[in-house]
Symmetry: D3
Subunit: 132 residues, 6 copies
């Protein structure tokens, strides 16, 4: 199995509902450094998993819909806790949708899976892994 | 599959028995930077894998039983080489025991697996992965 | 010259006033991974710059006054842009005040300088350096 | 499952054929920081996955065949794009061959798999994973 | 003293003339991860050292003149060894020229100094520091 | 001012005398990842600060005198606390002695200063800087 991983980041405000979150129930924020991993069983004729330039653009597009926002004000996240785990899934699912729609070229149609990891500090991260 | 990863560290003295270890047969030491990964197929109602604050406390508790010690003097490790691989398993098994005993809350009972990685320098690490 | 550096982090929401900030004029957030460096020309009788345990507690105290907050709502920052540069100075000045008040022990009174660096992502950071 | 990971690096010149590569079609170069992961279900009698000293030497040997070269001039890569993905496979396959030939000692014969990751910058990497 | 640091990278082929370089006398290549640090005694009215967005663009511009090339073929480097040390100076001097020409805005005219660090692997880097 | 930095590491056991050290008064250990920085105002005719291959060998030699040992048993450290700060000075002074003795070649005689940083974990490090 082959994979390529690309790094980008987003900077958001949000609050989290539930006693489990303690002080994170108040409005605060985070930088999420995002690692998006694209997995594929074989390489294409060019010797790559996917066009890394296009993959970086697609990731930038997905990240760009989220960054520099207060996620508490975004209608799409109403009634949902925007934890790192949940955002990893949101980003992975959007990457999957775009891959299937052809945004990553033909190589994107051959992907077997995706992993998205959000690093929220030097001591904590969250991941979501899915097939495709 | 979702996961969250938390980082902590321990600083121990030890020696390793066996010619394969060369100069590490003498008493020396190591900082092990520990990454503990908690894996789960679905998120709970709060949108998390596990309460990250409790997970960090539990990890700190497990690490606290080992750090600032000479492992050669610890009865529990008598007759065992305390390699990074072996210590990764010790830490993972202790985390698993505590998760099953409820120390991570209800979320901890739903975990599917654990990965513990010990980084011993900028060029070497060891991991142990288990189901739960 | 000797120094010791300790790492901690804070997670805040804020907005920045001024066209130069582009999309960061909206309410968003950041994780700032903080490196606090304590500088001193000579070591004390114990062979240290400063008690690293106390230094970590003092840094945690200073960081704890800022983390998990919306800095736009904090009276102390009214009329001030809470950029990474500005927050590095706030943190350095508070560490300096506490060092001079004895919170770091006698070693803290012998410090020659402080550097505080805030890493806001994998591609950007800001620092403030001062004498003491 | 246990694993150990060892880091080394290589510095090569190459060009890539295909419009997908854009400016990387010209002769340029890269540092690839290599993480080689050796996986095994159980530890040996010494408590290790594999002799890490020998593993580092074997990795150094494999890396040494590639580093400080213009891969466009190497007969073994004629007609092949030396992408990070493809080089990860080359390195993993050579490590597998040497493990099976006994270069890693008896432990090397018990390995279940290998993962080789090449980091080409702070924002991009490629991996190849195989059984053994 | 305040500073901000921005990271980018370049990927080049080159060879180095002189016995001291050993195998690096042959055509090979490197990824240089570049940290550009902009230093200034005081913050401007917006609370910043320099517009970080413009600084990133200017750095990208300077890096873009060098990346994806064989530096042995570039007329501007004829007769010069393109070591990491030398390239750090090239990049710093070009950043200084652009700052003085106004490319970083008014803040860029107030800079006191620049540091450029090129990381060529996980174990080696080179820096050049200059006033402005 | 130019500089080059080389990374290596050592793994030692030791104990520290003094109440300030709390649990670190017991025999424990550490990995110290060492960054040695060599500073020089101008480059030599080859375009370098110092022969990086020789510098790596010299650093390896100095580190090799310390690693895989219990520093409590080393006569040279009798009556001295082997803190990270103190070891940074030991390593810097030994590098300086070897540079002046010609071990780094002619370039080593032109060095203006050295900085040695010991990273003891992902959250703490110590440095010593000296002229030469």
């Amino acid at each position: 199995m082959f994979s390529v991983t690309i790094r980008d980041h987003l900077m958001i405000a949000h609050s989290l509902r539930g006693e489990v979150f303690g002080p994170a129930q108040g409005l605060h924020g985070a930088t999420f450094v995002v690692d998006a991993t694209f997995r594929r069983a074989t390489l294409d004729a060019d010797g790559i998993v996917v066009d890394i330039g296009r993959a970086a653009e697609v990731l930038r597009g997905v990240v760009g819909e989220l960054t520099y926002r207060n996620l508490d004000d975004e209608a799409e996240f109403a009634g949902m806790n925007t934890t790192a785990e949940a955002l990893a899934q949101v980003i992975a699912d959007r990457l999957a949708d775009r891959a299937r729609a052809g945004a990553l070229g033909d190589g994107g149609l051959e992907l077997d899976g995706l992993v998205v990891t959000l690093h929220e500090s030097h001591v904590a991260s969250a991941s979501y892994e899915r097939s495709l």
